[in-house]
Structure formats: C-alpha cells, structure tokens
Symmetry: C2
Subunit: 475 residues, 2 copies
C-alpha cells in the first residue's frame, strides 16, 4: 500500500504512487469519526478492564522468559484472553526462540572487608566454573572508558562498570547507560577480563538488580556478566575508594539451552470495508525472569488488548482491520518481531499504521510518529484528540515506534508512538520488583483511552499515513 | 540517686528522698548552659561527621547479626571508632548472645498457578526438613483471627497471616502489625500448622521481605516461619481470591547454633564535677542479616557517637559523665541491654537520664520523656531548645525510651525520647534494602544537633530529672 490519499482534501497527486503531496485542512477528519474517537477516549478514561487483564497475566502466568515454561503458559493465556475479549482470527503463530536460564547467582566481596553482594546474571551470560571466579576488581566509569583501557589493566580481573543511570520522564537516561550492559562483557572479554560486574541500569536504590540482554561475538572470549543493585554498586565503589585492593567472588549458574518453540499471539477486529488494510497494535508477551512482568510488558499488552476490545465493541467496526500482536521474545533478540515481519512480508505494505505499548503504565504525554511527512497533519489531529487526556507534547517524526516494530521499518510501515511518563519505569524495569502493585489502574485507563482513539482514527479515516521515511527512526 | 534538686528554683522538699515537689521557673537553666547547648545545636546543623561514622560501619563491617563474624568485627570497629573520636574508658563488656543463622530460604506457589515467591526466614525460625514442606495455604487477616481459629481449619496447612502495615510518621503502624511476626508461629504451631508465612511487617512495595524476631515456647510445636515481601503477599492473596486451592512449597535452612560471646561497646566523656553521675546515650550495634544495617541501627550509633564527640570537644567538659553504649544484640532478645542493666545495677540509680537513637535517620520532630513529673519543666526546656531544629511537638511522659533501655526501667532511670520522622523507616527496616543510600547526611546532622544539645543539658544542669515513674512506659 504505497498510496497516500486524503479523501476530504484537495490534493495534488501525480500518477506515480507514493509521491502524493497533500495538505490536509485543519479539520480533515470527518466529524462522525472524530465523535466516535472522542467517545472511545472519554469512556475509557472512566474505567476499563485493562487492569484486570494485566492482573490475570501476572497472577496466572507470572514470569515468562522466552523458552521457559511460563512462555508456553503465556501463549495459552494470550489465545484464551483474546477470545474472551471478542477478538477474531485468534491464533498463535510459531516462533523459534533462544532459551537461556539464569541459574544461581551469588557474589561477595572477599577483601578488604568481606560482604555479600546482591546480583542478577545479565541475560545470555555464560556461567562461571562450578567453584566460581575470584579476582581483584578494576573499575571503569563507563564502557567507553573500558574501551580505551590497556589489556594489562584488565587481564585476569573482574571489571566493574560503574555508570549510573539518570532519571527522566522520557526515559532518556537509559540509552546513555545501557551500552555497558549490551557490550560490556564483550569488550572486557577481549581485554582478558575474568568477569563483568555492571552497576544496574536502573534509577532506583533498591536491592533488586536489573537484568537485561547482553551479547557476545563469535570467536571472542565469553566471560560471565552480572548486574549489581545500585546499593551494592555503591558498596563496591566505597570499598574501592579506600585504595585497598578489592576482591570479589562470583558464581553464576547461567547457561544456554536448546532453542524452544514460542509464538506470536495474534487477534483481530476485522475491518468492515478494507479488512486487508491493517492497523497494528503491538506489545510483547515475554518478560524477564525476576519479576512477574507486570510493567514490562504486561501493562502494554493489557492496554492494546483493551483498546482493541473497545473498538470491537462499537456498533460499527472501523473500515480497516485492527490487529493486536503479542510479540514473542522481545527481550532476548526480537525473535517474534523478526518472525512476524518475515511471515507477513507480503502484508506489510498494507500495514497503514503500527504502534507498540512497551513502556509500563505511566500516562501518555507525547505523540510522536514516523509517517510520510505529508501525513503529519493527521498525526496532529490525533494529538489534538488526545490533548484532553493530558497529552500535551508533540514529538518529532523520527520515532522508532517500539522495539518490535524495528523489523517492519524496511517495509516503511508508518509508526505512531504514544510517549508515556517513564519517571519511575526504570526503578522496576527488569527487576524482581516488576510486579502488579506498580501499576495504577487509572493510568492504565488513560493509556487505553489514548490507544483506542488513535487506533480507531487510523482504522476509520478516509486517507492514510503514506509510507514512513526510510530508516529505523532515531527518537 | 534518688534526690530531685533544682538548684536555681524555690522548691518545697520534705526530708524524705524522692518526694520533692519543685516547680522550676520558666527559665530555670543557667544562661551559660543554654548558650553552650544552643551552640552545640547550631554548629552540628552546619555539618557533622556522623555520616562518615555510619558509612565506615556499613562499608567496613556491614551485616552484624548477634553471634555472626560481623558481630565480632563490629565490636572491634566500635572500640576503634570510640578511641578515634576521643572517648575515654573505652571497653567491650562481654555479653553472651544467641547465634542463629538464616540459611537458604526458598518458596514457590505450586498450585493453582506456579510462581516463585521471595521470602526471608523470621529471626529464630527452625528450618524445614531438607526436602522442604509443601501444603495447602489457609489465610487469616491477622494473628488475632488465627487465635480464634479451630484446629481443623489449620492442621497440616501453611498459615498465611495477611495483615498489612500502615504508614505513619510516628511508626505507629508497627505495633498494630508486628504481633503476627512475634507469635504467629507459636499460635499456628499449637493449632497443628505445617509452617507460617507472614506478609512482611513493612510499608514498602519492594520485593525485599522484612525479617525480625519471632518466638516459640518450650513444650509447644516449633514450625518454620518466613516473611513474604508485600508484592509476594499480594500474589498469594490474589491466587487465594480465585477460590481454587493454593499450595506452597517452602524450604528453610535456618538453624540455631551454640551461643557466642559478643559485647556492649562503651565509651565516655567523663564528667568534670560529678563523674559518677551518668547521662547514657544508647544505640545498638547488631543488625539483621539481609542489609548492611545502615538505618537500623548504624544511623543511631553514628548520631550518639558524634553527639558525644562534640560534647567531648567543648573547652570545658560537662559536670556529669556522658556514656555512650553500643548495645549488643538488640534484635534477637536484648542480650546487651539485659547484661548492661545487670552489670551496672549498682550504678543505675546514678543514671540521671538515658536515651536511645534507634529509629533510623529521619529528623527529630517530637520530644517525649519518662521523668519525675516535677522535672517535666526541664524536658520542656530541652524541647524549647530543640524547636529551631523543627522539633515542633511535645510528647507525653510515658516514653519507654528505646528497647535497650527497658531493662533499666525497674531502677526508674529517667528517659528521654527524641522522636524521629519514621515515614519511610519501615520501607527498609529488617530488609536487604537497609543500606547507606537510605540516609541523608543532613538529616543525620539534625539528629546529632538534637542529641548533643539534650545530652549536654542533662550532663551540665544543676538539677536533675528525679526518678522515672514505675513501669516500662507505654508510648
């Protein structure tokens, strides 16, 4: 679907597809559409079933890392829940996922002042030998500093990356800190380190370390890698500040197991006029192991499922199909996203808009996009429609849309991002603390209101968003 | 010391000791004393070394439960630190303490929806058999409700006490919730339960359970007892709310070991005129195992040590002796407090005032006491002196003064309580989260200012506080 047509506009379109230049009028969306979208918005804000959805997922399934028994339970839950919510064409599309298990994780400072440390293995780490690893610690402020280190500073030592993440409403501190998690063990391993300890990529001061994916490279040394909680990183930092040699003992039982079958769970509200055109609402069904995955990403799944359900319950279905995709294995390599983009390659040109809710349950405050520049007035109209929800800011047109949407970027699927308040998100992200009590049902309702209204507009509007600019989006 | 004399007052005293009726004038404390006390207060608020003291204790010692290796390190730390701070007569007075170790602690819901649970053993719990215990769960809202249960409701089951603690500035929610921790296992054991699970006595929603002492009775069944973090208690509660039978598997490696030697660490600022009269400033040196004991009670030790140091650094020492006591094993039976009261029985009548700092590092906001009623005007004067620190409330005259002061009550030692803001104290109390980052150095300074001024007044003032009313105090 390469065309870009706004029915209610005077548009100057050459005959070649994709090159339409349109300037929508200030109120280009038909009034009935706007009324219905506003009504979806206003009714959702008064209360939805979203909290009950995430409650059910976290109580009845709980942790569901890719390939784990919980992953399989989650797929069954997803299929059952979609059917209960009245979605159509519900199915689980097979995805092969890696399977890694964290195992035991123990660490302690053994000198100069012995103390236990609270750690979690990073996702994908190899284990230590059965007896563990014990070595002197060498600290670096960041992975960038480690990259400049000489091998003789690092060889045989446990590298401690001590970068502290900053709190921000838009979560922007994450990008600045997460590099050490992703490639710290690779860099340290190349320099001959014995292991990597990372100050958790998180904004809290709880004794609940933050895990998350890391990667090795074939042909390079694979060293064990674990995250220290922030208080434990403080403790290690303070002992190092004494100037005395600091030693740590580390034991990880982490290991990679054979790949497993998982699935993308998919359900739809079929469009009444153009069922082959798709508005995709995504989230990811997998979670990390230490929490129940309420915030990441049970909340997102509850939001998009409930938004779709409410659109499906309208007296008249929208013109296009709303498709909800609960992606498999976002956390450990985007397996589900890649499988979806591959299996649905032929359909991607007919994806008129895609969005993902994957930033917890904080309230939506910003609308960003990646659509054809000519279609930006439609995004403005959606933003205006969400303003009564407290959505006060208008982001740019360079949004990636969400991790699971990245593999759709080459097909130039237009994206919308409903930016959420992430002030507290990274207190809980990838920790044991990712549990249901962190979610305020009213916040969830506000998200449902925003997604229901935005998705309805995209599914019902006479025109569309064209095709997104090339690239994956940087915002 | 049974007399009650206020030198600057007109007092009507019969010749029998302890029955003096005095009405201090509105400004009965000599001006130089008031000036010096105010100066101690104002200089401490500008910044003290207290944070460095608690930092050193938590970084160089860390967890120090009674009888553990950390306990012995803490005693050496206490002696060394007192000497470094310039205290005199520094010594470690032996105390025999119980030694209990927590061991492994694992739990999981096995039906209807299997999920791991995060637990800590309660202090003193027996372990489970090696294979663990697995049984159906029966829930009670409180230990009071459990007490009314019939044995056939409970027999063979795991009892879940689901009482939630309320947050309050004065920490008053603790008393309402802690009964289940103390006697839940005893009551459940008598009814034939297999084990006890307790919703943590704490106000947070972190996945960091709260331990704390519990007790058995000789001749009664001893069943294993553990605390669930609040999110885990929510999860168990939610599965129970489904109406389906809920089973839990519990494994505890807790065990009692032979008693160990510990010590009360004591140091003094000897009085210049009446060295035999003592103003006692207490805290406890032991901590629970999961955290570094920064808040409970490293903060208190730092506060009273620094307050004493500052009084000791005055150009002229006060008339009476300031004695700092770092009590052994407050947490698991008040061993140090009892040993102190016994070893110093002959001296207790010459203890003119005792106070303990054992409520974290929150700011002082209230002054309470337990002194001879006729001496209350002096407490009022101390309260007035602390008012510029934000100490805005005046408590009653029924204060227990602090757990370690209880064994001094029969000797009617007068007590003062500088009530701290405990709004967040029970987020961290007895958890892995009790770490240095929870302490704001400025709050600690405010506490030092209050204790230094109050202790100086008591040590320097011409009169005294008489003898406390009988009983342990209830406030």
């Amino acid at each position: 679907m390469r065309r870009f047509v706004v029915a209610t506009l005077v548009a100057v379109c050459p005959l070649t597809a994709g090159a339409c230049l349109a300037a929508p009028a200030s109120s280009s969306l038909p009034e009935p559409l706007r009324t219905t979208a506003a009504s979806l918005r206003d009714e959702a804000v008064r209360g939805t079933g979203a909290f009950e959805i995430v409650r059910s997922l976290t109580i009845e399934v709980g942790p569901r890392p890719a390939g784990s028994p919980g992953d399989k339970l989650a797929i069954a839950w997803g299929v059952r829940t979609m059917r209960e919510l009245g979605l159509s064409n519900v199915r689980a599309e097979p995805v092969t996922v890696p399977h890694w298990e964290p195992g035991v994780a123990e660490a302690a400072i053994t000198a100069p002042w012995p103390q236990p440390l609270v750690i979690l293995p990073l996702g994908g780490s190899v284990g230590t030998p059965e007896a563990g690893v014990e070595a002197d610690v060498v600290v670096f402020p960041s992975v960038q500093d480690l990259e400049k280190a000489a091998a003789d500073q690092v060889r045989g030592k446990i590298v401690f990356l001590n970068k502290r993440m900053e709190r921000a409403r838009d979560g922007s501190g994450y990008g600045a800190a997460v590099g050490g998690r992703g490639r710290g063990a690779l860099v340290a391993g190349k320099l001959g380190a014995a292991a990597l300890l990372l100050r958790s990529v998180g904004t809290d001061n709880n004794r609940t370390p933050h895990t998350g994916a890391m990667r090795y490279e074939e042909g390079q040394p694979k060293i064990p890698a674990a995250a220290l909680s922030n208080p434990d990183a403080d403790l290690l930092e303070a002992q190092l500040a004494s100037g005395k040699p600091v030693r740590v003992r580390l034991k990880l039982g982490s290991r990679r197991l054979p790949d497993e079958e998982s699935a993308n769970v998919i359900g739809e509200i079929p469009g009444r006029e153009k069922p082959e055109e798709i508005v995709l609402l995504g989230c990811h069904l997998d979670s990390w192991f230490p929490g129940t995955g309420a915030v990441d990403d049970g909340a997102g799944c509850a939001i998009v499922l409930e938004a779709a359900r409410r659109i499906g319950a309208l007296p008249q279905k929208p013109r296009r199909t709303i498709r909800v995709v609960l992606f498999a294995n976002e956390e450990f390599g985007l397996s589900g996203a890649r499988a979806y983009a591959e299996a649905h390659a032929a359909e991607l040109p007919r994806h008129v808009l895609a969005g993902e809710s994957d930033f917890g349950s904080g309230r939506v405050w910003r609308v960003s996009s990646r659509v054809a520049p000519e279609a930006l007035p439609f995004v403005d109209e959606i933003a205006a429609l969400l303003a009564p929800l407290g959505v006060t800011e208008r982001g740019g047109n360079d949004s990636g849309g969400g991790a699971d949407l990245i593999p759709m970027a080459p097909a130039r699927v237009p994206m919308i991002s409903l930016g959420q308040d992430g002030t507290y998100y990274f207190d809980w992200h990838h920790t044991a603390n990712d549990t249901l009590d962190k979610i305020d049902p009213k916040d969830l309702d506000q998200n449902v209101a925003a997604w229901a209204a935005a998705a309805y507009v995209a599914a019902e509007m006479p025109g569309d968003f064209g095709r997104a600019p090339e690239g994956e989006g940087g915002e």
